[in-house]
């Protein structure tokens, strides 16, 4: 199964459960009217939460992205070393 189908399947399942509860297809009459207001907005809440989570994760990872200054300096030093060694062995740059 492709990732796309996995996503569509999960979304259809969640959407189905949500619609069943909204339309009271199961006949539970389990929720008071105020519950339906919450249930109605639930997908929007979830979407906003997901968006905030994503922004938070990307922001955190951006802020903690290592800047490898030392690696760059090390490389610069090794480049000089390599050029000197290769020149000694007869390399013409």
């Amino acid at each position: 199964m492709t990732k796309l189908l996995q996503w569509l399947g999960s979304l259809a399942l969640l959407g189905g459960i949500w619609a069943a509860l909204m339309l009271d297809l199961v006949g539970l009459h389990a929720f008071s009217p105020s519950w339906y207001q919450v249930l109605w907005a639930l997908p929007t809440y979830l979407l906003v939460t997901l968006g905030c989570y994503s922004l938070g994760v990307v922001g955190y990872r951006l802020a903690t992205f290592n800047d490898c200054q030392a690696a760059s300096l090390e490389l610069q030093a090794q480049i000089r070393e390599a050029r000197a060694d290769l020149a000694r062995r007869g390399m013409k740059f």
């Binding site: 990732k3 992205f65 290592n66 800047d67 490898c68 690696a71 090794q78 390599a82 290769l86 007869g90």
Partner: protein, 241 residues
């Protein structure tokens, strides 16, 4: 030696890398000689007009034609076919692929080898996004795009490896051969597809944090076109794998 002999073939696809090539050969040679691992470095030059191949010839004179192999092609033909071409001439049972512009430091090769041995992995992938991994020479915008793209990829593909667009990796030769038959994408997406297909085929993947130092010589490239083709490729993999 108790275990079967291991030999590592480093594939270096080049195009106009005359400045970088001597260094990108010198560094791994030194590290291989220190570690005592069997190795060869295969330079696949796509007809660079800047004299990359002359530089390669000089390196062959210095290090010997058993250690440095020049297997050029007439013109620029792309990364995927460069690996296929290089593999034809590779005598090692492990293949290391890396960029020839010094953004991938050969000092990590011993860590790749160590990780591979410890986990008996089919693939070891360098990662900029884990542990001590990181980048140098990127501005905030570039880092943001990179992090955002990586997050999106992780969410959509759940690939089980943290760096899909990197191209510093070690493969068992037969694994790389198998993957090359399966993968059709180009550019960044090609590297992603390799990991995704590897997972599908049940290959194990180990990771080594690497520091990525953006090109010392020459131009680095990340344009709008690349972002569009990355997204296209990501969605294609999302819908087809």
């Amino acid at each position: 030696m108790a275990s079967a002999a291991r030999k590592y073939s480093v594939l270096l696809p080049t195009y106009n890398e005359r400045e970088n090539l001597p260094l990108v050969v010198w560094l791994p040679v030194r590290s291989f000689e220190e570690s005592g691992n069997e190795f060869e470095i295969i330079i696949i030059d796509d007809g660079s007009p800047d004299g990359t191949q002359e530089v390669a010839e000089q390196l062959i004179k210095i290090y010997g034609s058993d250690k440095i192999l020049l297997r050029p092609r007439a013109k620029k033909l792309g990364l995927g076919t460069a690996y296929i071409h290089g593999m034809k001439h590779a005598t090692g049972n492990f293949i290391i692929i890396m960029d020839a512009d010094l953004s991938h430091h050969p000092k990590f090769i011993p860590e790749f080898i160590k990780t591979q041995k410890e986990g008996s992995f089919d693939i070891v992938s360098g990662t900029r996004y884990k542990g001590n991994g990181g980048v140098h020479g990127w501005d905030l915008k570039r880092k943001l795009i990179s992090r955002g793209a990586n997050f999106l990829t992780q969410v959509l593909l759940r690939p089980g490896a943290s760096d899909l667009t990197g191209s510093f990796r070690l493969y068992r030769k037969e694994v790389l051969q198998k993957l090359m038959e399966k993968c059709v994408s180009k550019g960044y997406v090609f590297q992603m597809e390799m990991i995704v297909r590897a997972r599908q085929l049940g290959y194990s993947i180990g990771e080594v944090p690497i520091s990525f130092v953006d090109r010392v010589y020459g131009e680095s490239k990340l344009g709008g076109n690349e972002i569009v083709s990355f997204l296209k490729g990501l969605l294609t993999l999302f819908a087809t794998t």
